[in-house]
Subunit: 391 residues, 4 copies
């Protein structure tokens, strides 16, 4: 490929393409062949599937629009489609972990094949018309990079041998000890993405909102504070919980964050470096919305709304864990879905989910901004999720 | 009871008490003995249970606080508690329909017994300290009057004999034909209850909010418009639906509003007067949030937020059907739960539910106001629920 | 009706008809209106349904075959069919308890109407051709009389008020104290119904079978022996149980027979006369096959086969409780299904069920014989079931 | 290892050990790394698990009884125990397919390690006392060789790419065209294992049974006959089915044997050599007991009992498919469980299952005899199961 002859903007995009596509494979490099295949719960996808699905996205929405392009394998569209109803049949989600074929090496071939055809596109006059879709495809793959790390952790962390994925337990970075509450004044504020840079449709429109006075903590809740909650019977007293949260706690016998194990009377947690004693100074991680809410009730405080969070976000450090807000995932005023299959990206999930703001240790660099709206169902906690309080 | 000697405010409250308690029994008067007992789905409670539960509320929160009061039957607290975790054990919800004892006549005796002791309270010096709780108890019973009518309709409407409950099919009142969209200007508006009169905790605090320009219909969507949606394949095209809505439609084989039956190629619906041809001019009723959303998408419009609804509500007629909004049920700024068991009234349900505004043909008189926040899970539709659009 | 003019055989049958039909209503006479309606688990049917279903049987298989007969209500065939696939649509079993209409008084009218038309038949020349079907209909109703008593016990016995159904707790009749084992010699024996009298198709053909030497107890296992099993950890040691039995015990947290409650450290059980201390000398009752098997294993003995039981049955007293055998419910050599809907009576249930022999305190007089094959799934225990051991 | 110095009987056993252990690995040799890991349904185990579990059996019941033996890895006992409740904790069955570690290469190391220690035992004076357990261990591994082939077929056959496992589609061997019914005379016959050679506990005691006259087909039902059944609406007419079979057909939308696909109006089936047109002359395979029974009913014949089958078995050829009998899996007279964990081998499964007799194309050589009792639940059909009729 003759990179030198490319115009600067194409070069920039190509470099981004190379970097994002490369990182996905780098994240998989510590895996053994067996780790690529399984799906222990419906929410978790096999790493092999992420490798294929992010590749299929470029094939389906970009390459296949070009007359001469020949798909790598016609059946892959079926195997690697995730939830796009507009684009033909798809494997039902709970079946992904039963597919031993195509094998992983074949999926890597698929990646190379699609990359190669993308390189041709970068060199062609057609690049312009696909720029926006490439941008989407790369952001999409970055989202899957975080999912990949969540899923790998779930697969290894639920194995009785607790295998290690990497040396450095980055989940254990301590939170600042210099704790205080920041005061934000009542008034009309502007919310949502406002620059020319890339954002998802759910960050638009940029719009005015009215916010009351509030005070927000400059630090995340730590494991130490969470242990106090546990020791004070937090998981055993319905008074702190939503009615559905209380049912969830009892049906699933929840007594601590995900990955925590009490061994010889000490709290250990599974990190990507294996089982380690819980670091009390690190932010609590892997909690559900139900737990975040119950903790806030116990503290007689509350979670911020996503608007409060966005308004205050430039006054504190964020990025160690996604932060639950008390905002439901709903459309902004003037929200518009894209036409066609890409319109299925966000809008159809805007019910029964809660917004998380910020970013986590698993979020790729260059994939975070203070208008980004992440969202999960209130009972889920395999993502890197923590909380910050408001009073 | 010597009513004449009561001070005026006590008399007013007593009259309200007599009127509310009487209406509950009046609503049950068309029922046959068998109708009082069953619970065809978990959401529906047996009429006998409503009669007992609304009575238990006065016994538990008012009468039992008085030293001399002797409970009618100690086991009733167990049988008729609904969801108050603070107040001892309770029958699990799905079991209510298996309890043939206490029989209905015994429950009516229970009502008379509690009424009698309440009369004594009205005559006593203690009335003052219980006034607020009586107000709550009466509002609580009015809520159950609407539930009672929903549940009776479900019980009779799912019987293959389609029995009639009353003469007049009030569901069939036509909507005005004079349709238009009302324009509301952008700006800061005040939302929530602001007068001295009774309201629930979830209507507070009264607070400012910023609203963008919008246009809202002065009429509800009619059955005629809904039939167009059906005929245009609305239930068969995923593009209009939330992802979870689409799953719901398919798993439950939904093809029309609840209680609709296509007989000899004509749409009939079960009304409280039995099976009747669908009145095309009447507002559509008994639809889920998923359906309301899909309809709005199909129309290329949207549902109002609950704030938009409240701001515009004095400009149109409402009250024929609860109106789905696109707002999730969340706390207002400054929301405070009451202490003790009454604190369980609203706050613990503020997750996974959507707000409906307005009132319906089954809402008791004097129990509606434009700040009232009703709420249900997005898949439910046995309540009298319709929709109004915004563009 | 002019009974005097009837021929003797018709009179005998008429008397049986009157007696059987009357007993069903007598069994219901202690019930209150509410008790007739509910269905707390899928296996239990509402008493109202039994009243209607046994009546429908005569209407469907006898009266409706006569040209002039006009059905009482056309929709009843739908409501009261149980499982006969040949005879049109039916209410699904789990829905029986949601039908408040037809009300019980209407079902009693239905019974009277069908009885009246049956009386006409007894007086007519057609009687002959229907004699066999009437015999079946009466035996069918007798089977439902036992089910009725099982279902009533379940409905009342799972009510927190433990209401009484009748004065005399017949479940508590003590077993003889004169315990011994009877010796039966090896050889070829004949099994199955062999006389002209009525039997079900599953008791045929009468056929030879080879039986090895065995010794069978002359008494049933008593509550006292069962308490020893409990106290020895019988419910907590997998070694005694089938693999599926062990799963059943753990998933359902089974620790004692159905209807037993440990109150103030004493075993009480619900009888049709209310809650009573367990009578240690009475036979154990309301146990599943899994429990019967586990008990036998614990005793280092075994259950008899149904053939052993039949061969030995004239040497001991039976009739207090149905006795689990270790025989699966399978066809006898030469088994033939009847033509038409009556062919659905027995054959289609011959899989996954175990045979019980004998009779119980709830079995109608004149409805027991030592060739009778009762059958239930191995986890069920709301019938009057006990056990006798073999070594 | 000095084989030459071994006594003859030890050499024979060693050779058998080498041959059986080798075959398991040979059966896995066509698999790719990913195929070893998954568990698409609870009944199917990952090939990796079979490799480990059959090895664990020798470690647990033989090697670990020797003082000096050091386990390969202490956690493997937990990972590879199947259902032996006596031997500590075990991984729940539905979780086997989520374990990516230990990886397959580690499991092969485990096999080598255990083999090596077994070789030492063959050379030692202790061999005598373990001979019976080795025999059991080898038979156990042979059983798993058949399960392995069933599970591999399920894993590959439910993959949308239909990968091939081996060249020769042995499922397609035609049945003889020379069809006739063999006549067996009424009388007392002896059933069960009677020689000194190895058998399972469930084949004992050898005992007398009485058998009526019957005629049994010398051939298995073919695919051609099964297609007639399908074309005659066999799957759509309840009259042929058990009540529970009919529910199974409808809930699972069963319309043909497992692995059959109608493509361009022609029946194809997945074989271990990939998707092939159904061979009409080959015996039907992969049917449930419910289907076998329904087919027999449709033919107005029946399945043999397991006793009839055993008595007639030397008069026809068998071994292409396991043959459903109409016998439930129950203990023979005098059946005794072994002491300790091996007592869990068979007895605890003797409820809710049906007996199959014969052997299949997947049964290892030297692992079939006409007294062998195979058993499965009536709805299962991933084994190589067919049927033979009796009239």
């Amino acid at each position: 490929m003759e990179v030198d002859t490319l115009p600067t903007s194409s070069k920039t995009m190509l470099n981004k393409f190379l970097s994002v596509r490369g990182l996905t494979e780098e994240l998989c490099s510590p895996l053994l062949a067996e780790d690529y295949v399984v799906q222990p719960i419906a929410d978790v996808s096999p790493p092999k599937w992420h490798l294929g699905h992010t590749t299929w996205f470029f094939e389906e929405f970009i390459l296949s629009k070009q007359k001469k392009y020949k798909r790598f394998n016609d059946s892959f569209a079926f195997v690697f489609n995730s939830y796009y109803e507009s684009v033909g049949e798809k494997i039902i989600r709970t079946n992904r972990g039963n597919l031993t074929r195509p094998v992983t090496s074949k999926v890597y071939e698929y990646r190379a094949y699609v990359n190669e055809h993308m390189f041709k596109l970068f060199n062609s006059s057609q690049l312009n018309e696909f720029e926006y879709l490439i941008e989407i495809g790369l952001n999409h793959e970055q989202q899957h990079q975080e999912l990949l790390q969540m899923d790998i952790k779930y697969i290894l962390g639920n194995n009785p041998l607790f295998p290690s994925y990497r040396q450095n337990p980055i989940e254990q970075t301590p939170e600042s000890e210099d704790k205080s509450f920041l005061n934000i004044k009542e008034g009309v504020y502007t919310i949502g993405h406002s620059t020319d840079s890339f954002c998802y449709d759910n960050e638009l429109n940029n719009h005015k909102t009215y916010i009351q006075n509030f005070e927000i903590s400059n630090t995340l809740i730590t494991n130490e504070e969470w242990i106090e909650f546990i020791n004070d019977g937090g998981y055993k007293n319905f008074i702190h919980w939503h009615s559905e949260g209380w049912t969830w706690v009892n049906e699933n016998k929840i007594t601590a964050p995900l990955y925590w194990h009490k061994i010889n009377n000490q709290w250990q947690n599974y990190t990507l470096s294996g089982l380690k004693p819980v670091n009390k100074k690190a932010p609590v991680n892997h909690i559900s919305y139900y737990e975040a809410y119950a903790f806030a009730e116990w503290k007689k405080m509350r979670l911020p709304t996503e608007f409060e969070w966005e308004v205050a976000s430039n006054k504190f450090t964020w990025g160690k864990a996604w932060e639950w807000t008390q905002s439901a995932y709903l459309p902004y005023p003037g929200f518009k879905k894209a036409d066609g299959a890409l319109g299925e990206y966000n809008g159809k999930f805007m019910v029964n989910q809660m917004v998380l703001r910020g970013a986590s240790i698993a979020t790729p660099k260059n994939h975070s901004r203070n208008t980004y709206r992440n969202f999960f169902h209130p009972h889920l906690r395999w993502m890197y999720s923590g909380l910050r309080l408001v009073k």
